[in-house]
């Protein structure tokens, strides 16, 4: 009997380890031989721990499992109360276009054999057969844009690094996924770490970089452990090292750990941190592509950008480019979170509307109460009310609505949400996490908290000040932390003005 129990952090946080132990114990008691695989998650987090059992028809899903549900898994699987049918027939899963996450949840994350059997290394092999400039042009042709949030074309960045002359170049993977509502980087690193390694190795071949670093936030101990083990295994197997798959070309990798600073998700701040400095933002130019880590040419890409690369190299840039709308090409792994019935990761082509995601796919709120607002793109993203649910998911449309796609995390709030408190939190978070380099962010965020407190106290002169302050932060900040914190604040004010008026106090 072959059984899968995810070792993904979300599954473990919901009791997957206890379920796995119960399965082992029950098997022993019954004298049944069980091959237990700790896979990544399928991304249907509301069903975690999601246990899968192999059958001739395919893998059958049971979830959310508890240790008490395990006995019936052995004795009466057909009538099991947690039976969900075949995993890949579950509508939430079936509707997806899984390119980047094709293997996540299917394989043993640290088995290179599994990885190759499910299409792994095909992209790297294709890249090894082509000169660097051709690899770069394939990525340009794919239309892939930075999945970290900025949306800069990945291929163009690589082209700059390829053209830069230097004795040493670097690939730096930004795995400092600090946005609330986002967990795709973590899920990929825990569920399919070789995919990221393969993407980084291809980036190295394409640009002439021979050293890669993955900067992972310290809040992700499981991802750090899995990535370290995967780099070790890939090095042992000759995929990384002095002679990448016998090509005579070198690419080495190392995992680095952040230290709890949100701002280090900003690329120049990340580079400073990687160099061992305070994670303050650098002014651009110079671009990191020309003067990045240690002042040398550096590709800084998000986990999801790099993890999309193996598929693109294996199937061609045109195939990736065929999916999506406008200048948002390919797939985007949406992360549906917060007060949601069916939360998890949903990879799909750009163009799906916000309403389809939130109401149809995610099934509305967990509380069952009406949706009030959805914050898209993390703590720096705008709050979108139900009236904006026809917004198609793509970089251009969200920017047009005073919002951003960001890292594609979305947090659903029900009608109980206090928009003034959420706006205040946006400013408070910015004040806590500001690197302190520029004044609009360092001082502005503190003043923002104070001024929103005046709004709450019923001071009618405070609200115009907030709008003015947001304008200064937006235009005067050095990076997205100070520059985008106004998005959640202003969108909350625009869509829910009644919660920011002096009448509020009186009404309560």
């Amino acid at each position: 009997m072959k059984v899968w129990v995810p070792a993904d952090a979300a599954a473990r946080a919901c009791g997957a380890d206890e379920v796995a132990s119960a399965i082992t114990a029950a098997a022993k008691q019954r004298g049944v031989t069980v091959e237990l695989i700790r896979n990544g998650t399928r991304g249907m987090v509301w069903l975690e721990p999601l246990v899968e059992v192999e059958t001739p028809e395919g893998r059958r899903a049971f979830g959310p499992m508890t240790p008490e549900d395990v006995t019936a898994l052995f004795d009466a699987p057909d009538s099991h109360p947690k039976a969900q049918g075949l995993t890949e027939e579950i509508p939430f899963f079936k509707r997806q276009t899984r390119l980047t996450f094709a293997r996540c949840g299917r394989i043993d994350p640290l088995s290179l054999m599994d990885y190759e059997a499910e299409g792994g290394l095909a992209g790297l092999r294709a890249a090894l057969a082509r000169p660097p400039a051709e690899i770069v042009e394939e990525i340009v042709a794919s239309g892939l844009r930075g999945r970290g949030g900025a949306g800069f074309p990945t291929g163009i960045k690589w082209r700059t690094v390829l053209g830069a002359k230097a004795a040493q170049k670097y690939i730096v993977c930004n795995a400092d996924e600090g946005d609330s509502g986002s967990f795709a980087d973590r899920m990929l690193m825990e569920g399919d770490p070789f995919c990221l390694i393969e993407g980084m190795a291809i980036a190295g071949l394409a640009t002439g970089a021979t050293q890669g670093y993955v900067y992972i936030r310290s809040e992700y101990p499981d991802a750090i452990r899995v990535m370290r083990a995967a780099v070790e295994a890939a090095t042992r197997a000759g995929i990384l090292g002095a002679d990448v798959m016998g090509s005579g070309r070198a690419f080495r990798m190392e995992i680095r750990v952040g230290a709890g600073a949100y701002v280090c998700g900003e690329e120049t701040s990340l580079l400073n941190s990687l160099e061992g400095k305070r994670g303050v933002v650098r002014a651009k130019p110079p671009l990191p592509a020309l003067e990045g880590f240690m002042g040398r040419p550096t590709v800084v890409n998000n986990v999801l950008s790099l993890a999309a690369v193996p598929w693109i190299m294996a199937h061609g840039g045109a195939a990736y480019n065929a999916i999506g709308i406008n200048r948002s090409r390919g797939t985007i792994p949406l992360q549906i979170a917060g007060n949601v019935k069916h939360g998890g990761l949903f990879e799909t082509g750009f163009g799906i509307t916000l309403g389809e995601i939130v109401t149809e796919i995610a099934g509305g709120t967990a509380s069952g109460r009406p949706i009030k607002a959805v914050q898209v793109g993390g703590p720096l993203g705008a709050y979108h009310p139900v009236s904006e649910f026809d917004l198609p998911f793509c970089y251009e449309e969200f920017a047009g609505q005073g919002g951003l796609v960001g890292h594609a995390g979305m947090i659903i709030h029900d009608e109980g949400a206090d928009m003034l408190a959420l706006a205040r939190f946006a400013m408070e978070f910015c004040a806590i996490e500001s690197c302190g380099k520029c004044t609009p962010c360092r001082i502005g965020a503190v003043r923002g908290v104070e001024t929103l407190d005046r709004v709450a106290a019923g001071d009618p002169t405070a609200l115009p000040l907030i709008e003015d302050l947001c304008n200064t932060m937006q235009l005067g900040s050095l990076c997205a932390l100070g520059g985008f914190t106004p998005y959640p604040v202003l969108s909350a004010i625009r869509h829910f003005p009644e919660e920011f008026t002096p009448m509020r106090e009186a009404a309560e």
């Binding site: 952090a9 975690e48 160099e275």
Partner: protein, 150 residues
């Protein structure tokens, strides 16, 4: 306890590493539970930095502690996804149960805020020592409070 031989070992292990300061500080905190004052000068010397530069880096990052944490550390997520599932009320409940505020260490328990554990689809979430806990509710919060005080 601080041990200069262990510190020398850590410094030695990072020779030749590009950008070694954060990895060194992580190892020191792992070994000693915090970044001891006595370690600053030797680190600065080994990396050819000023003591002030090392102090600046230690102070910049939320993770590095100047004093050891309690025997138990609870990191409760305060970010938006957890707020949307009633995180603020659970924070108040936990603070009341433990008799301490976020950011305080009392009776061997450190309670602190974290901004996202990546468990946003099973919020609210916390980390109790090395264990992740999702789908927090009043009952689970009470259990955590009892466990860490036992």
């Amino acid at each position: 306890m601080f041990d200069s031989a262990r510190l020398a070992q850590i410094l030695h292990a990072h020779e030749g590493v590009e950008g070694p300061l954060l990895p060194i500080l992580h190892d020191i905190q792992e070994s000693f539970g915090h970044i001891p004052e006595a370690a600053l000068e030797p680190i600065a010397e080994a990396l050819r930095l000023s003591r002030a530069e090392v102090v600046g880096v230690v102070g910049f990052y939320h993770d590095f502690r100047k004093t050891p944490a309690g025997a138990h550390v609870i990191k409760l997520c305060r970010a938006e996804a957890c707020q949307s599932m009633g995180g603020a009320a659970l924070q108040a409940r936990l603070e009341a149960a433990l008799g301490q505020k976020m950011g305080e260490t009392k009776n061997g328990v450190t309670l602190e805020a974290v901004y996202c554990l990546g468990l946003c689809a099973c919020a609210p979430a916390a980390m109790v020592d090395d264990r992740l806990v999702g789908r927090l509710d009043a009952g689970r919060v009470d259990t955590i409070a009892q466990e860490v005080r036992a």
